[in-house]
């Protein structure tokens, strides 16, 4: 039982990291990015090819190094960030709304097709495997205790990411991204460089996705195209939406409800013989339906994002109308005079 619980919590921490990354792109910046699972996958693939060593024929894949796990994960994060930069450079320049989504959907399918069909890259549909208990020997952990170690490791990283994103969320950068989301034109009028800000948020989100992927690779010890599909992103979206888009605590709650509770509760349904995919399909029907229902009836989620209110807008009598919010004034002064991106 404790073994099972450990496994569930580890997976939950990893999903929470991914969801926090996607929340930057969707929750703060307001872009419905369908490429996100591609960054997770790339992080996982890169981590694997950098740790599992030379390919043994007939398997083939690039690199095939045996680097220490943390370094491999960092390289995976860098690869995901780079891919995020490339996709963002194309998709964020002129595209918004559904056109942005469609182009990112295209981008992730290109990655998916390449990973599956182009064998020399990541061994095609066979995928990669063989990352067993990374860091175990370094820390001298035996096989029995390893899963507790992995849980601690993933949970610690989750906490770090959570604290960082919460701080960033309240920072000027987080506020600026939200201002773009709420009114791009007004924000541009205040001197914001929309393109660059959105791109920074996007790359940051992609990097966190890659980090989640790197941890996922250690958890699964393997990765192949049948283990992921671009549409997997929808589960993370459902988590963010249910918990509360834009609110870090809400996102974590959503991951707990959707990715942990729902996923695990359907596991206890009786299996029907000859129909192994039935329970899985049922779970996905529920997730899709939850997504639609929440969008219709509670789009702000269970824990809505707290909106900042300009203190001068209320009827406190004393203040001048307009920008006496110190934070706003401060921001204005420091925002520079870069041209407005179209």
């Amino acid at each position: 039982m404790s073994q099972y619980l450990t496994s569930v919590l580890t997976e939950g921490s990893i999903f929470a990291i991914m969801a926090l990354g996607l929340n930057i792109i969707w929750g703060w910046s307001g872009d419905f990015d369908l490429a996100f699972y591609g960054y997770v996958a790339l992080g996982a693939y890169m981590t694997l090819v950098l740790t599992i060593g030379r390919p043994i024929a007939p398997a083939e894949y690039i690199l095939g190094l045996q680097l220490p796990y943390p370094i491999a994960v960092l390289a995976g994060v860098a690869a995901s960030a780079l891919m995020g930069l490339i996709v963002g450079l194309i998709a964020l320049r002129h595209l918004r709304g559904i056109y942005f989504s469609i182009v990112t959907l295209g981008a992730v399918y290109v990655v998916y097709v390449m990973a599956g069909q182009y064998v020399p890259l990541f061994d095609g549909y066979n995928g990669l495997s063989g990352l067993f208990d990374p860091m175990a020997s370094t820390f001298g952990i035996n096989y029995n205790n390893y899963q507790y170690f992995l849980l601690g490791f993933c949970f610690a990283i989750f906490l770090i990411i959570f604290v960082l994103t919460e701080r960033l969320s309240r920072s000027r950068f987080g506020l600026a991204l939200r201002s773009l989301r709420d009114d791009e034109r007004a924000s541009a009028a205040f001197g914001r460089d929309i393109y660059r800000l959105k791109l920074r948020g996007y790359v940051l989100g992609a990097a966190i996705g890659g980090l989640g992927g790197g941890l996922f690779a250690a958890y699964l010890s393997a990765f192949n195209p049948s283990a992921w599909s671009p549409i997997e992103t929808i589960v993370i979206y459902a988590s963010i939406l249910v918990g509360g888009k834009g609110n870090g605590k809400g996102v974590v709650l959503g991951v707990f409800l959707i990715s942990v509770l729902l996923q695990e509760s359907t596991r206890f349904l009786p299996q029907i013989p000859n129909q192994p995919e039935l329970v899985l399909a049922l779970r996905e029907v529920i997730i899709g339906a939850v997504l639609v229902l929440f969008l219709r009836f509670r789009p702000q989620g269970i824990l809505p994002e707290r909106r900042r209110v300009d203190p001068d807008r209320g009827d406190d009598g004393g203040g001048r109308p307009g920008a006496t919010n110190p934070r706003l004034v401060d921001d204005l002064a420091s925002s520079g005079s870069e041209p407005i991106a179209g």
């Binding site: 194309i90 595209l95 182009v103 295209g106 995919e277 029907v285």
Partner: protein, 281 residues
């Protein structure tokens, strides 16, 4: 031939977009449902014509259902269209997996007699291919007639240009939108049938995969104008045939989106739309 199927699928997608301003991500499932309906009817009766009819009807009914139960509810609630777009993705997920529950996730073989290939001009076509081509052209002609020359078509165009203004002039926008979705569903369901017939096998996920190519083609052609979408689809379809023949068919999807990325970068409004319509949201 793939271009003809792509054109049918894309024109239906574009019609859905025109009247509700929603890019329907569950469009692929109309094709899938059409394929399953055709397969079931053909198993029961052995009649290809009945199978085609069943496919169209199944697609039409599903489209009507999706529109009246989900889309209309969102539209009436005043939900931003981006939110509806996300909801259709959730819907696609639901329909796919309901089909998995009913029929299982495995591929269904759907083989019918293709007929002997014959030479027509420079092309080598089978009888099935002839039928698909001819039916696509006939369907296009009928759609063109409906959209350009009937009162309903006029109402459809009015709703697609400005829903509120159309309603002010006494057009029942909801009925027009529902009817258009039903019409689009008929075409999409039929497209699903011919697609399954020409590939020879299908599964609950097959419509979604084909939909991705449809999406690339439709956006490349320009969304919302049925016939510019169609022109784009034919071009993309032919381009895919060539890349498929000369490089590899398994990269088809990647090529479709490469074309889309190029179009988006060079001519963001789509290839065949008037310059005034911007794609900025």
């Amino acid at each position: 031939m793939a271009a003809a199927i792509l054109a049918l699928s894309a024109v239906a997608f574009s019609l859905e977009y025109a009247v509700t301003n929603v890019a329907n991500l569950s469009h692929g499932e109309l094709l899938t449902v059409g394929a399953y309906a055709a397969y079931l009817v053909q198993q029961a009766t052995g009649n290809v014509l009945l199978a085609a009819l069943a496919a169209a009807l199944a697609g039409g009914c599903l489209a009507l259902l999706v529109h009246t139960t989900v889309i209309e509810s969102f539209v009436r609630h005043g939900t931003p269209r981006m939110t509806i777009f996300i909801a259709t993705l959730g819907l696609s997920f639901v329909i796919q997996n309901v089909l998995v529950i009913i029929f299982g996730a495995t591929n269904v073989a759907y083989t019918i007699d293709q007929g002997a290939p014959q030479q027509i001009g420079p092309f080598l076509l089978t009888r099935t291919a002839d039928e698909i081509l001819v039916s696509a052209i006939v369907i296009t002609a009928i759609l063109y007639g409906i959209i350009q020359h009937t009162k309903f078509g006029k109402a459809l165009r009015a709703v697609s240009q400005n829903r509120d203004l159309a309603r002010v002039t006494g057009i029942n926008a909801r009925t027009v939108a529902s009817t258009t979705w039903f019409l689009a569903g008929l075409v999409a369901g039929y497209a699903g049938f011919v697609l399954a017939e020409s590939i020879g096998t299908f599964s609950p996920y097959f419509g979604f995969t084909f939909f991705l190519i449809t999406l690339a083609a439709a956006v490349a052609g320009g969304l919302g104008k049925a016939f510019s979408t169609m022109a784009g689809a034919v071009l993309v379809g032919i381009a895919l045939q060539f890349t498929g023949a000369y490089i590899s068919a398994s990269y088809e999807l990647a090529f479709a989106f490469a074309i889309l990325a190029l179009v988006v970068l060079i001519r963001p409004r789509g290839l065949f739309t008037s310059a005034r319509r911007s794609i900025f949201e």
